[in-house]
């Protein structure tokens, strides 16, 4: 049997709050066509609608600090 190869990808998205706190959410299987304007669109919507809060007394969401598309290829060797 040949080696087993699986590919997976995660969008590591770092959210920043005005109390200085930041939080990373790993979003599985991001679209390969994601652009920075998609992330900026989400950021703008979040600034208006505030779906998330920071630790200190519900500090408001500030911005998306980074969004990193991490693609992983796992090859399980057939031994």
């Amino acid at each position: 049997m040949a080696d087993t190869v699986t590919a997976s990808s995660i969008l590591k998205t770092k959210f920043y709050f005005v109390d200085g706190d930041d939080r990373t959410i790993n979003i599985k299987n991001p679209k390969s066509t994601i652009t920075s304007s998609d992330i900026q669109g989400l950021e703008t919507w979040m600034q208006t609608n505030q779906p998330l809060v920071g630790d200190k007394m519900g500090a408001a969401f500030g911005k998306i600090m980074s969004a990193t598309h991490v693609a992983t290829t796992t090859r399980e060797l057939d031994i």
Binding site: N29, N49, Q50, G54
Partner: protein, 176 residues
């Protein structure tokens, strides 16, 4: 303190998966949280399934909170006034206002008019039903203060566990 998580369920290549988004804003409406979950999913190739909002409450530290309602009745009779104007008496003084709670049921608003000194607006709480507290306001003034117009600015400070107070402002002036 209650924590609110979103559990976003979706499927990819036939396998279901759950993304947990923690620290959702407990003051956000359910429709905002749902839209957020769907927008996050829209960045993916996952097929969206559902979103649950899960609130965790530590019963050891939580206590019941009420939504405070401040209701001040004004004028004679029961018809509420739409403007809050208090005519009081005071000598010359600074402008401003100060609110404090004396610890045993009375909340004091101290007001300063633009041209006069303070009149004290004295609020006393009275629980009418388990669901509401009615605060009655009384104006106390000093004896030699001039007539003038005093203004009250009422606002609520939201904390994690309270909803904003609803302010229906009609002011009762007790003259005696």
């Amino acid at each position: 303190m209650a924590d609110t998580d979103l559990k976003v369920k979706s499927s990819y290549a036939g396998k279901t998966q759950t993304l947990t988004i923690s620290d959702a804003n407990p003051k956000a409406s359910d429709s905002v949280l749902l839209e957020f979950a769907q927008r996050v999913n829209a960045l993916t190739d996952n097929t969206y399934s559902s979103t649950d909002k899960v609130t965790t409450v530590n019963l050891d530290t939580e206590s019941d909170k009420q939504t405070p309602t401040l209701q001040l009745r004004a004028g004679t009779g029961t018809t509420p006034l739409t403007e809050v104007t208090i005519t009081g008496k005071g000598t010359t003084g600074a402008t401003g206002k100060r609110i404090y709670y004396d610890g045993d049921g009375e909340v004091y608003y101290r007001m300063y008019s633009a041209s006069g000194e303070d009149g004290w607006l004295f609020l006393s709480t009275k629980k009418a039903t388990p669901e509401e507290s009615i605060i009655e306001a009384y104006l106390m003034t000093s004896t030699n203060a001039p007539d003038g117009t005093y203004y009250i600015d009422l606002y609520s400070t939201e904390t994690e566990n309270y909803k904003a107070a609803t302010w229906k402002v009609t002011v009762t002036l007790t003259t005696s």
